[in-house]
Symmetry: C3
Subunit: 355 residues, 3 copies
């Protein structure tokens, strides 16, 4: 067997020089989601937001059933892009304009298509930044998620010509009038007691900071199970034998796992933030590992009524997750503008809340 | 930001002086259960009781479908009370008169309401005992579970006046005529081979002791996943960073996890105890931690025919769980009446069994 | 209580001298499988084969819904036999002629019956080899799985007379005309992009070797959760307290867990091997433990068209799993015919693939 035969059937992923502007990537392995996925997700994060927890609550505000947690949907739809986009990534650099569209229900089948919208070789010619716009749809073709993402991807051959392209213009934030409001939503019968908090839209002020108090420690089995549930194949999360010789000497926790932990912790203080509507920007400030304990706090960046609705508002939040550091002191940046040493996640997003 | 602003949105739980006799607590986050919860539960305990394992078996004895394991239902319905009742608990002191009512089926939505039935300040004035009577209902309003529980809860302020109240009278045991028999139950076609044992009601004698033989070791990821599945938010189970400085230096395993392990182990010797009907009393004798191996044994405390049925009996059992100690010697009390050093759980309950 | 009373209700399993040729064992605890089991399985292995992942994909090739992963079905159906056949096993010696029949769908209830087909006492008279032929059926009586297996089982009493019997003749392999093709299968609309690879039946050649590249590290919680999901009660997988004093000083990973990891890894190189049709032979060459990282590679042993179909072929594969050893060098046997030190699994099986 030649070396060529050995790898001819194996997908080694795309390298920087394999991408082209306008290239469309139909990602493999569509996925039917179920109440089983919701249960495994519950066992991993223990989220208590009522909308995804109870069919009765969901129906009381106009949903046909309890939808999946928005982030469970995000991780699954996002995970499909890994084998084509980021198998040879050096770093996940950012997200922009992530819109949550039609809710995902148990029984739905989702799949994802990405388009390359930007390419920019790094000056060292070893790698380049790939920008993709990705759309997740359900079996009816409705958009369930749409986002932009950029990753630094290795070149197979440093001498290869760089593909043509440039960095695209991406919006710094989603504006409130672009937020998707789930069809049929009506909040007259919204039960604040069952939802877990009396605090509604009008009770939050821009600049307000909320310590979510609790902390949760990550186990290897937990983050690996989460990441496999999402069919995310990024090697660094699973292989201790190879990571032992890697940069950190151990397996890296999937950044999305931290987002889900932070969202679940944020229930304590934001129980009526019943749905994430958009992610404006997100940054995995520092890596996480098994054994880390994640705490979180949030700052209200903006409060906006939803146009043409008197029952619904949106809070723009910054949620910060920190490791091994309770968040009563709201860690974020140090005086020199650098991230606080404990911070691992800085997420800027919109949530819907009853007025 | 003032310290007050910081915590204004966060639920810090009730302290002893916040409770009042007769106070009703409608607990947050109703929960729709599913076959997904049953599968996660299976992966955590591996229970083999046929009723919850197989729809065909359940239907052969008059159930419409396979109900959830009774203890899965118990943990979920019970977990709802934690944020309102025991977030500031020092100790879970006991249970009494826990009745299992209508079976819980995949698709049901359960929620829980508690009433404060007793209050008694401790002499040190730092804390007091809160007694609650809790009822879990499904979406049709049928009672699925009902129980009394008492916990020692911290005072926010030792100088605060204690709320009026006293310890309530609680029954030492549920009497056999109070046991709920699932509607439609008929045991003519009960298949002892598929159920896993030939031993039926008449084969058990009061005083008989059964060693359940096997042992199962607890992992951090397992008990944390279990506890989150139940949306139980008690901090001591999840946060290694804070528990490192706590009483034990490590995370504490949710006591209900031990009950479920013991019940699953008890299949070997009690395979036809197809349903738990009531818990008379339960005591978490000693704390458990990841790494502990749980063994169990049972004593038959009583055998009673079910009134007006010639196909059904009830065994009153004491199941003892011990850690790192096989139970062939039936550890329970030492000669001076204290608990055997290995014992972690002492559970007194009724099970239904075909005659 | 006498020692006899102590164990009278407990199933201690069958010993070698308890078996008889022709004996039929109807195994306990039928099991209704669900989308929940599929989700837990996904979280444990992250398999990306499209048929079990997406209802839409399954329907596009003639299945009514997405069936469960074949190996999830295998482990559940197989696990039923443990309490009656191998509770006192010293070693699992082999499998032969394992046929995958009707697909298993969420909602199906499976149960298993075994027949003793061979018995051969070992010369040391301490143990003997038991051969069973087992059949798993769904609630309609359709065969979902059928296999032969032999295990070395302890004698209760070395002096007991050995039961009559001999080793049966078992086929070395399943022939291609015996492979079960799922009813209604039609591959005209098979989508190679969604399936994850352009490589179809005609692209594989006998002798070809494929390195599946990735590795996955096993955690204690993961293999124990898997094994409990299958209701497999073999003690060595769960009890650290007793295994500490055992042969390895630690818990042993269920061999089937390795098979599932290897199959999931094999997606990278065999994405269109959409269904396992038969296992010819399998050998757990060496034990695995938590902390081991599993890699895998496959060799194409044979390529055969499926009789009377021009759209379907079968590959006979040898998949080798190795621990802590990447498989780019295709580890298998050393020059003296012994297994390579890293090899833990040697599996010979047939997969179906579109032509």
């Amino acid at each position: 067997m030649s070396d060529k035969t050995k790898t001819a059937k194996t997908n080694l992923g795309n390298f920087f020089e394999d991408f082209r502007i306008g290239q469309e990537l139909r990602h493999a392995t569509p996925r039917t989601v179920s109440a089983g996925d919701a249960a495994v997700y519950m066992s991993l994060y223990g989220s208590r937001f009522a909308l995804s927890s109870a069919a009765t609550f969901a129906q009381s505000i106009g949903f046909p059933h309890a939808p999946l947690d928005e982030l469970l949907g995000f991780h699954i739809v996002f995970g499909k892009t890994v084998p084509d986009v980021s198998l040879n990534a050096i770093a996940n650099l950012g997200y922009a304009a992530c819109h949550f569209g039609a809710p995902i229900y148990p029984g739905d089948t989702v799949h994802t298509v990405s388009t390359v919208i930007g390419l920019r070789e790094n000056s060292n010619r070893q790698s380049g930044v790939v920008y993709v716009h990705s759309i997740g749809r359900n079996q009816h073709g409705a958009v369930v998620l749409e986002w932009n993402r950029w990753v630094m991807v290795r070149k197979r051959d440093a001498n290869a010509a760089a593909p043509a392209g440039d960095a695209p213009k991406l919006p710094a934030a989603v504006s409130v009038d672009q937020l998707h409001v789930p069809r049929g939503l009506q909040l007259d019968a919204y039960d604040y007691v069952l939802a877990g908090s009396p605090h509604r839209f009008g009770d939050y002020r821009t600049g307000e900071k909320i310590d979510h108090v609790d902390g949760t420690t990550i186990e290897e089995a937990e983050h690996a199970m989460a990441t496999r549930l999402y069919q995310n194949t990024a090697k660094v999360h699973f292989n201790q034998h190879s990571e032992r010789q890697g940069r950190f000497g151990k397996r890296l926790v999937y950044g999305g796992h931290i987002i889900s932990i932070a969202r679940a912790l944020s229930f304590n203080g934001l129980a009526n933030a019943f749905r994430i509507a958009a992610i404006n920007a997100g940054s995995h400030v520092a890596p996480c590992f098994a054994g880390d304990t994640i705490y979180a706090w949030s700052e209200v960046l903006d409060t906006q009524p939803i146009p043409a609705r008197n029952d619904l508002g949106a809070l723009r939040l910054r949620t910060i997750a920190a490791k091994d550091h309770p968040c009563a002191d709201f860690p974020h940046k140090t005086d020199d503008g650098k991230s606080h040493a404990a911070v691992v996640l800085d997420l800027d997003y919109w949530v819907l809340m009853p007025r």
